[in-house]
């Protein structure tokens, strides 16, 4: 072609046997650096010294012997350390000794083979040129003929109804998967509603996790922390989902330490406050409560919440305070919720305003 003044030229323009640069690439730089070729061949000690050669040979077959011994060791360990007693310590012994045997078996083969190749096999340097990606014109012409013949014989281009229904079938095939995945979402209810509400409602008792026993306000002494689940959680049809939303941490502070905003003064009872245990960042359980500083720490990403100031975020990636559960006591003195949380618990989601 008449592009000889250009810095690049198409690989097919150059004769196959004298192409410079890396063979196999479509574009070849005309001013590419010249391949300097191999450095002079340096014979190994195993090529020159027969003693070294025999020594390397011994090393290789010793490694293979070690591999054989490792395999036998693994079989023997399986028989010698059975996991039959139900004792967990037996599992430890069994897996450890079988593992040691298998490690020697595999490493013996691998290291032996590599050492054999490096020290004993011929190390003459040589190049196998990659063949060019671009086929010859003759090959390309043949390929086109094959395609045309296949089209002719199958009627793919001619029988359009068959072709189009096949395309339709292929498009329809992934649809069941989409429907099945949709089935994983909450049924018969709006996911936004499900995410925005929990089990808590007016008069529902706060109970201890895991016993489910109700908590008297007088049980919660200053500096105490209770891990709380709603009463009747274990009877809920989707217990784990409900627990994941409704888990609450109950703490008692000196009422003078609390700084409730207007309208939220009655949400605590005698310094007893209840906050959602679900971090507003990505939903880890926030339960590392420091009794003196009144800070709550999330162990996943170190968000810190100040319980004295309505769990506002004082450090870390969380963007919102933990939602507070308004609580009071019932006629028998047990702690109960005044209502559900006033905002969705946990991390943000798309529809959350």
């Amino acid at each position: 072609m008449a592009k000889s003044d250009s810095a690049v030229e198409h690989a097919t323009d150059a004769p196959d046997d004298v192409r410079p640069g890396d063979p196999g690439t479509g574009i070849v730089l005309a001013d590419a650096p010249v391949n300097p070729g191999f450095p002079p061949h340096r014979p190994r000690v195993t090529d020159q010294d027969p003693k070294k050669n025999r020594s390397a040979e011994r090393t290789v077959f010793t490694l293979f012997y070690i591999s054989i011994a490792g395999s036998i060791w693994a079989v023997a360990s399986y028989l010698a350390f059975p996991i039959e007693s139900g004792n967990l310590a037996d599992v430890r012994m069994s897996t450890m000794y079988i593992g040691i045997g298998s490690a020697f078996a595999l490493l013996g083969i691998g290291i032996g083979a590599v050492h054999w190749a490096k020290a004993l096999m011929s190390d003459k340097e040589g190049i196998d040129i990659r063949h060019p990606i671009h086929g010859s014109d003759e090959t390309r012409q043949t390929a086109i003929e094959i395609f045309e013949q296949a089209n002719e014989e199958s009627g793919f281009g001619r029988r359009t109804l068959i072709r189009n229904t096949l395309i339709g079938a292929l498009v329809a095939f992934p649809l069941p998967a989409v429907v099945l995945f949709r089935g994983l979402a909450p049924q018969n209810q709006d996911p936004v509603v499900a995410l925005s509400h929990t089990m808590w409602k007016q008069g529902l008792r706060l109970t201890k996790d895991p016993s489910g026993l109700p908590i008297k306000a007088s049980d919660v002494t200053l500096g105490s922390v209770f891990h709380v689940i709603p009463d009747g959680l274990y009877d809920a049809p989707d217990m784990l989902e409900e627990k994941g939303k409704a888990a609450v941490l109950l703490m008692r502070l000196d009422p003078g330490d609390l700084h409730p905003s207007p309208g939220r003064e009655s949400w605590a009872y005698n310094g007893i406050v209840a906050y959602s245990k679900i971090c507003t960042h990505v939903g880890c359980p926030v339960a590392l409560y420091e009794q003196n500083t009144h800070h709550l720490l999330c162990p996943c990403h170190q968000s810190q919440f100040d319980i004295t100031h309505e769990a506002e975020v004082i450090f870390g990636p969380a963007s919102r305070p933990l939602p507070q559960l308004p609580i009071t006591i019932d006629a028998e003195g047990y702690l109960v919720a005044q209502s559900d949380f006033h905002e969705p618990v946990g991390p943000s989601f798309w529809e959350r305003s």
């Binding site: 190994r44 000690v45 195993t46 967990l88 310590a89 599992v91 430890r92 897996t95 450890m96 590599v114 490096k118 020290a119 190390d123 201890k208 996790d209 895991p210 008297k216 049980d219 919660v220 002494t221 200053l222 500096g223 105490s224 922390v225 209770f226 891990h227 703490m251 359980p285 339960a287 590392l288 409560y289 420091e290 009794q291 003196n292 500083t293 800070h295 720490l297 162990p299 170190q302 810190q304 450090f315």
Partner: protein, 275 residues
């Protein structure tokens, strides 16, 4: 037993004018038997309680000695008469358990002020600690040093493990290996801590640890937790070396350094020319 029963059966005989074959005789016998068993049990059970009452009501001499120890070692921060100062909280009502924990684990007296009083070699001897505990307990009622079944390690380890995961593991790590808190504070590892000190920590809530009173975790549940902590120390991890139980971060770091290091080393060896 027949001799002990004699007076009551005699009374029964007098009143009813019938022998010991009277239908009520069996009832009386069972009642007396149960009463005796209960009485003996109560007496045995009460023994440690009276013993601890003795130590808390301790001799006046012990309290006087304790006050001297207090004034020498503690009063500079906790104030004379333990009312507290700018440097340390009041100790009125913290009880003997708090003293036994703080001083018995070497946390108090503090060597230097810092975010947290670290565990260190115990500074006072056992007599001094007992005197000090008696003195602080004499100031106001507070939790006593736990004894007997409270610190038993014969509880239900599985139940203890569940309670530990819910109430303790977020700070102390699921295997009790400890963990970091905010601003230099930390939850200490629990390996090697005595059952008494674990129990005392739960009822007194030392430093930033919350209080777990007997209505939150019953004494039996506390004993279950102690049983679990003892169990995991006595039973090695079935999975092999546990890397200090620090969890996925330390395990990942180990694999990154040693696993990838070994792979890189092998790759270098395979491609290096043999001499």
């Amino acid at each position: 037993m027949p001799k002990l029963n004699a007076p009551s059966t005699k009374t029964a005989r007098k009143n009813r004018k019938v022998g010991r074959r009277h239908p009520l005789a069996t009832v009386a016998l069972i009642a007396i038997g149960l009463g005796l068993t209960g009485g003996v049990y109560a007496a045995v059970n009460a023994a440690p309680a009276t013993a601890s009452a003795d130590t808390t009501s301790a001799s006046q001499q012990q309290i006087t000695e304790g006050q001297k120890v207090f004034e020498a070692n503690c009063a500079s921060c906790h104030g004379l008469n333990a009312v507290g100062s700018a440097n340390g909280p009041s100790l009125i009502g913290v009880g003997a358990a708090a003293v036994d924990f703080q001083v018995g684990t070497g946390r108090m007296p503090m060597a230097a002020s810092g975010p947290q009083a670290p565990q260190k070699p115990v500074q006072l001897n056992d007599t001094q600690i007992a005197d000090l505990a008696a003195y602080v307990a004499s100031l106001a009622p507070g939790p006593a040093i736990p004894t007997g079944p409270q610190i038993s390690t014969n509880g239900d380890a599985a139940q203890g493990a569940e309670l530990f995961r819910i109430n303790c593991a977020m700070c102390h790590n699921v295997a009790g290996a400890g963990g970091a808190l905010t601003e230099g504070k930390y939850a200490p590892p629990l390996a090697g801590v005595t059952p008494t000190h674990i129990y005392e920590a739960m009822i007194t809530g030392p430093q930033n640890m919350p209080v777990f009173n007997d209505l939150n975790l019953t004494p039996a549940q506390k004993s279950d937790i102690i049983t679990y902590l003892t169990y995991i120390q006595q039973n090695p991890s079935p999975g092999g070396y546990a890397l200090e139980d620090l969890g996925p971060v330390s395990e990942g770091l180990f694999l990154w350094i040693f696993g990838l290091g070994a792979i890189v080393g092998l790759a270098v060896w395979i491609t290096a020319k043999s001499n």
